[in-house]
Amino acid sequence: MAGKIDPMHQFTVEPLVPLNIGGYDVSLTNSGAWMLAALAVITLFMWGGLKRQVVPGRWQMAVEGLTGFIDDLVKVNIGPEGKKFTPYIFSLFTFILVANLLGLLPLAIVPGWHPFTPTSHFSITGLLAIMSFSLVLIVGFWRHGLHFFSLFVPHGTPWYMLPLIIPIEIVSFLVRPFSLALRLFVAMMSGHILMEVFGSFIVNGFGSGSPVGFGVGLISFIFIVGVGALELLVCALQAYVFALLTSLYLNDAVNLH
């Protein structure tokens, strides 16, 4: 099946259940279906572990490990006042992690199926980032009122540096949701493009029948095993980085500088 490599095809959003309400297209797409799958996996995982046994079993230990991990993250980065943000950070982390990992499932061995990563779309990661950013703004203005603007003036800045520092701080503040969303979306998308391209190298290389093609296919195969392991790491790391940066931004809003 030697053919043109089309790495962008896997990101197409296709309607699974077409649905039109009042002229708006609200079909259940494959993106929505995979988000629901992520929700189902998270619910199942949490439900299996919430047994409240005094001596926890393996499953409960796994759930407690996850919640404890996020609890520590929030406690270290925001402090004692950050406890009320733990559910939000936890939801963010688990959703991104599970959505990333589900997108790596080798489902394409079933003909006609292919996994879809909701987090490889800017609309999804952008929404998550806007949620985090608005939470920072709401918490900041709620707690500090207009004093929140002192975020743009770092402590101990000499007065003659202020005209330079304040615009830089404002720009770096406003670019936060953009960078948050872009990091996750590009990391997931580039990984999937890489796997698709090298997967096509294997298919085309072995399919060509020539010794050179066989060599290329073999090298690509060895390479993609490593890339697959790296992608698992990137999935977890990007979810962690998103949760970490959200908690750092919340720390700015809660404690100012």
């Binding site: 872009l182 990091r183 962690y240 940066l245």
Partner: protein, 75 residues
């Protein structure tokens, strides 16, 4: 030079940035390891800063990748 080939060359040039970001990420982790081996007791407390530095360095490489994609697919 026609536009199509200039586009490919431009995308290739933009992809250099991802390699430079690799240098940055390697620098972040290398320096962390360097100092963590000197003072292992203090290393665990700095993991948040390690990943913050990693995320900031990585973002610029991803930006370069985005620019390459924009050149290839948008224009």
């Amino acid at each position: 030079m026609d536009v199509a080939s200039a586009k490919l060359i431009g995308a290739g040039l933009a992809a250099i940035g991802t390699g430079v970001a690799a240098v940055g990420v390697g620098f972040v982790f290398g320096q962390f390891l360097n100092s963590a081996l000197r003072n292992p007791a203090a290393a665990d407390g700095q993991q948040g800063r390690l990943f913050l530095g990693f995320a900031l360095a990585e973002l610029l490489g991803l930006m370069a990748f985005t620019v390459a994609l924009l050149i290839l697919f948008v224009f």
